[in-house]
Symmetry: C2
Subunit: 383 residues, 2 copies
């Protein structure tokens, strides 16, 4: 096991009826900016629940944070925070709203162009306190310090992670997920699954408990997947899904283990250049990446195949094939496409993507062995 430091200060408030606790979780002397996206929280009743809980608080609203939240939108909120002397941010929404709100929190405390914080996260030395009411299980943003922000003008999408931008608390009421569109549930299942894989499917690292935890989340998702796509109104099932998504990316499974994240890095480019949903890009990139990197990942693929898919028969190569296929089939079983061509996309952006990684000098993957040439090979496998 590698040396590590773990700390996660977020207070997780989970269960039916917990949005009402906002009334006491935020001191009444705080001036709150309530951030959200489009109109879904008004349609599903979450907006009313939040406003009702905060009826004795001073609340300014900032709506319109988009999926893949943009610098251009968020910078407007930074101005509002400064003008209105806001001192608490409350994100009500999914990962995009929470990520965007983290950026606002850090940007307010930074003197300079806040895009700097995406280029060099060490520049985040302070942030406004923020909290969240989660409406969409997927990104895990509700219990970590990470955010991914896009810049429209340059079609860039970059991430930061900071100890300053953990939510003070996050409220997870599984009932708010009942009205989610199928596409969001499919995305959430795949996003969660691949978050776990990025922290697990690398090489054996003698972290026995962390492996078992990762496998436990993956097994839970394979058990739940089709059921929750078919019916998103079963409380216990949606509880387990919502809990899985949070635990998948709050640091519990990543202590002292190697991590990959190449699927995310490549996927971010496909979102930036083609506008594909984040999870959609992951489901396309990961199977191809595993096929290209199968030798380096073989030992862990075999462990994963045995423990999650009960694949134990055949030669190692046959099992690896079966394991990658089982994973891709799982994504398809929850309604996810796994090829660029299914989205009408060809190889038109590949030169740009490979060029960007070449220019940045990034080597991807747990061994930093995924060169720009390998990235092209992976992209070719996505067609």
């Amino acid at each position: 096991m590698n040396n590590f430091v773990f700390q996660n200060p977020t207070r997780l408030i989970f269960g039916k009826g917990t949005i009402a606790t906002l009334a006491t979780e935020i001191p009444t002397d705080k001036k709150i900016l309530m951030t959200y996206g489009g109109g879904s929280i008004k349609a599903n009743g979450v907006y009313d629940q939040v406003k009702d809980a905060l009826k004795n608080h001073f609340v300014v609203e900032f709506a319109g944070i988009e999926p893949n939240p943009t610098y251009e939108t968020l910078i407007k909120a930074v101005d509002i925070v400064k003008e209105q002397k806001i001192d608490f941010l409350l994100a009500v929404g999914g990962g995009s709203v929470i990520d965007g709100t983290k950026f606002i929190a850090a940007a307010v405390a930074y003197n300079g162009d806040p895009w700097d914080l995406l280029v060099d996260q060490d520049k985040i030395v302070d942030a406004l306190p923020l909290a969240s009411v989660l409406t969409l299980p997927a990104t895990g943003s509700e219990m970590n310090g990470n955010a991914v922000i896009s810049k429209k003008t340059t079609h860039e999408k970059l991430a930061f992670g900071s100890s300053k931008t953990y939510p003070v608390f996050s409220i997870l009421d599984p009932e708010v997920t009942y009205s989610l569109p199928k596409r969001q549930i499919t995305n959430g299942i795949v996003d969660t699954f691949i978050h776990v894989c990025e922290q697990y499917l690398t090489f054996p690292s003698q972290a026995m408990v962390q492996d078992r935890f990762a496998e436990g989340i993956l097994s839970t998702l394979t058990e739940l997947g089709e059921k929750i796509v078919d019916d998103s109104t079963n409380y216990n099932q949606m509880s387990n899904f919502m809990y899985s998504a949070t635990i998948a990316l709050n640091g519990f499974i990543s202590m002292g283990v190697p991590q990959d994240w190449a699927t995310h890095s490549i996927g971010h480019e496909l979102t930036a250049l083609h506008g594909l949903d984040h999870a959609v890009t992951l489901a396309i990139v990961q199977p191809s990446l595993w096929r290209v990197m199968r030798d380096e990942k073989k030992a862990k693929l075999l462990q994963y195949g045995e423990r999650v898919w009960n694949i134990t028969q055949g030669t190692e190569e046959e099992r690896v094939d079966a394991i990658i296929n089982a994973t891709e089939n799982f994504y398809r079983s929850v309604g996810m496409k796994t090829k660029l061509s299914e989205h009408g996309i060809g190889n038109e952006s590949f030169d740009t993507i490979v060029g960007r990684f070449t220019q940045r000098g990034w080597m991807l993957g747990e061994n930093r062995s995924i060169t720009p040439d390998k990235i092209r090979e992976i992209l070719n496998g996505c067609l």
Copy 2:
């Protein structure tokens, strides 16, 4: 899944050479009381490492915190803290030292007889900051707010848990465990295993991930058990053991699930009245408790048997028998006795123990269905 609130602020610093980080983890303007037990930290070099890291700090020492730390000893430290205006406590040791230091931290901030805090933990409204350097994986005290304290004069042993008494940080260097006596390793394995069971082996509660996590720790311990009893100097094995003990009782596996803790409650009485090691009492009580409560626990026993022991053959009753026997045999395989008679103890304290639970009006177990009569039946099964 039940509603829950989870928050664990402790900073976990894990790995080789991490004791040196004390130099920067504690501000140099703090006046530290360094607490420890007997001489083992001087024999194994931990004392020297701590003192070296803190050579620029003001440090007062308080030695002699005993296994099953006593009110009578700890109250002396409370006086020292007040006299010397100590404002930071550093526990260097195992669970007893850390538990005792939590009591000191809370007692210093309390006006009145600190034993009150054991009787009514709501009286803990403040505490001095404390941290730990862990030397013995077992109790999980390094990453929770719980403590168990004994009173010599009355042969009582009571527990408290408070959000105020989480360590600010805990340092876990697996190398410090290399010199542990076999008895301590055996105790630590069993203690950790039964901590998990208390939070898991109850009734099915639709907490899929929490179940998988609990089973993951149990499987890890069954894989490691005999190996680390035979050789306590393998870094990876001791890392996994040390990590398991912390994760078993830091709240990760208990979110939204029913809990038992009857084995602990009955075990504490056996320690208080007979001086048996804590883990020794658990290994004696748990198999008997499971046999007496087998009907209420049947569904979860069968799940545990299948996933941890791969016991899937035979009738349900035969499997339950086999599963309880496998568990008891596991304790024996790591060198633990599982009967009172093996310690030369008969039924002489049973009336006292049953009388105490009757007087307190406590009903034990996840269903609060373990009456004083059931406790007597469980104790009879311990002979």
